[in-house]
């Protein structure tokens, strides 16, 4: 937590100050990604788009780690581009209180971000469909009465973030049987599907929600800010290669929430190669 406090100023400073030292690595563009499928997929898409529009060599550094790992990596110049979510940048990196106003959130972070892809990937509070039907759960506020008998499991980032569990529990008055189990994010879906946990926090565009017989509950008290995906790139890179900004702008507004969910499902449920998924999408959507 302490690391994020001055994150906002540091981001702004770093993007300016590092203009001078950017050329050391030659003109290889390094595209990073966070440690989940959608981030890998979007990074691959961005990488292919930069390759075909600019001809610059692109190196992929996918599945690096959580938000804070990618944020540090781009500030340090170890990666040049990655895909971030507006709400995450706003709360977790710039450390503002969660805010529901979509364009307000985008404007606050827009200085550092390219055009948005066109979909919102919010935290999804996910339960088994069986439980949702049995207890009549549609919204997160419906969970409060059953929570005292339930076990929740979350990844470490969700437990620590400003827009994470503590605020969620306050906003909805959730009290679980025990403090939530902290575990590796990638294992939480499995734990939920196998009945070892009753409630987890996933991503609303995850293909696994449908495939594993789970449902995402509606955030009826609008606790989570909008999380619209957009590529973030180092200012020095865009300064040297304005054609990269043009290539990224072509992706603006091209992926809807449903489209993203389908792409994620191709990777997570049908286990297709993400490079192939990205190639097909580009061939279909960006003539």
């Amino acid at each position: 937590m302490a690391g994020a406090v001055t994150g906002g100023r540091r981001l702004a400073l770093a993007c300016g100050a590092l203009l001078a030292v950017g050329c050391a690595r030659g003109d290889r563009v390094v595209v990073g990604a966070k440690n989940f499928t959608e981030s890998d997929l979007l990074a691959e898409l961005v990488a292919q788009q930069i390759e075909r529009r600019t001809g610059l060599p692109v190196e992929r550094r996918l599945h690096l780690g959580g938000t804070f790992v990618c944020h540090r990596a781009i500030i340090a110049g170890k990666i040049d581009v990655y895909v971030e979510y507006t709400g995450t940048a706003f709360t977790a990196i710039l450390n503002h209180a969660p805010l529901a106003d979509r364009d307000g959130v985008y404007r606050a972070v827009a200085a550092e971000y390219a055009e948005r892809f066109g979909f919102d990937n919010t935290f999804a509070i996910v339960v088994r469909r069986r439980d949702a039907e049995r207890y009549g759960l549609r919204r997160i506020s419906d969970v409060a009465p059953v929570a005292p008998r339930w076990k929740a499991a979350f990844g470490y980032e969700f437990l620590e973030r400003a827009d994470g569990f503590a605020g969620l529990a306050r906003a909805y008055g959730l009290r679980f049987a025990a403090p939530p189990t902290a575990m590796a994010l990638g294992l939480t879906y499995r734990a939920l599907a196998d009945g070892k946990a009753d409630l987890i926090a996933g991503n609303s565009t995850d293909g696994l929600i449908q495939a594993l017989g789970l449902v995402a509950l509606e955030d009826d008290r609008h606790y989570f800010p909008p999380y619209e995906a957009a590529p973030v790139a180092r200012a020095d890179l865009l300064g040297r290669h304005p054609q990269i900004a043009r290539a990224l702008d072509e992706l603006a507004g091209k992926i809807s929430e449903d489209a993203m969910r389908r792409l994620n499902a191709l990777a997570d449920v049908e286990h297709q190669d993400i490079a192939a998924i990205a190639r097909e999408w580009i061939a279909r959507s960006l003539p």
């Binding site: 937590m1 302490a2 690391g3 994020a4 780690g65 959580g66 804070f68 790992v69 944020h71 540090r72 499991a153 990844g155 470490y156 980032e157 437990l159 620590e160 189990t181 902290a182 575990m183 590796a184 990638g186 294992l187 499995r190 734990a191 196998d194 070892k196 946990a197």
Partner: protein
């Protein structure tokens, strides 16, 4: 925030995690001992099983912990999320050095000594308890030492499956890019490993001295 300040502010949580860590190591090494030593002895009695059993232990050793957790979550009794799954994984990782050293230690006993024992009319059980195990104790203890020290380090993966332990600080620190947090988990784990190594080393030396 310095490491000292961190511990001062979070002493209760830190102590809980250290306690959980010790518990995971103690229980898993205990089970690995209870299974591994008799298992190693059995292999000396059934030489044909040696290849498959040691091969299996070797293969188990190479499964990455996250993958192992993935397999274990759906299983009844030994699976789920929490301490039990972590202990199963730690036992799996601790078995190989104990089984192999028990087997190697006993197989390395001088055949002439064994013959002498038989000549004195010892049963197989007596031979094991009075000749083979005492002579092999040094090698067996060395295996236990390796297994324990490795367990102290590996037990940090318990943090990935909701079983607590010092891995919680390491995972949280890695996700939040907070080096103080990572150190808060790694440092006590390293000290614990050194302490376990030192204590078991002492026991080994004592044993070697007695054997002389």
């Amino acid at each position: 925030m310095s490491l000292f300040q961190f511990y001062a502010h979070n002493s209760r949580e830190a102590l809980t995690l250290i306690g959980q860590h010790l518990y995971l190591v103690a229980v898993s090494t205990g089970i690995a001992l209870a299974v591994g030593v008799p298992g190693g002895v059995l292999l000396t009695r059934r030489p044909a099983w040696r290849g498959p059993v040691l091969g299996l232990a070797n293969v188990l050793q190479t499964i990455p912990s996250l993958a192992l957790f993935g397999f274990l979550i759906p299983l009844p009794f030994i699976g789920g999320i929490g301490a039990r799954t972590a202990i199963v994984a730690l036992v799996v990782y601790a078995l190989l050095p104990i089984v192999r050293n028990t087997y190697t230690g006993i197989a390395g006993v001088d055949p002439a000594v064994r013959e002498a024992g038989r000549g004195m009319g010892m049963t197989d059980g007596q031979l094991l308890a009075m000749v083979e195990l005492p002579l092999a104790a040094g090698v067996i203890l060395a295996g236990i030492r390796v297994a324990t020290v490795v367990s102290v380090g590996t037990a940090t993966i318990a943090g990935a499956i909701g079983a607590g332990g010092l891995g919680v600080y390491i995972f949280r620190g890695a996700d939040m890019v907070n080096n103080t947090l990572i150190l808060a988990g790694a440092l006590p784990a390293a000290l614990m490993a050194l302490a376990a190594d030192g204590l078991l080393g002492l026991a080994e030396r004592k044993l070697a001295w007695r054997a002389r």
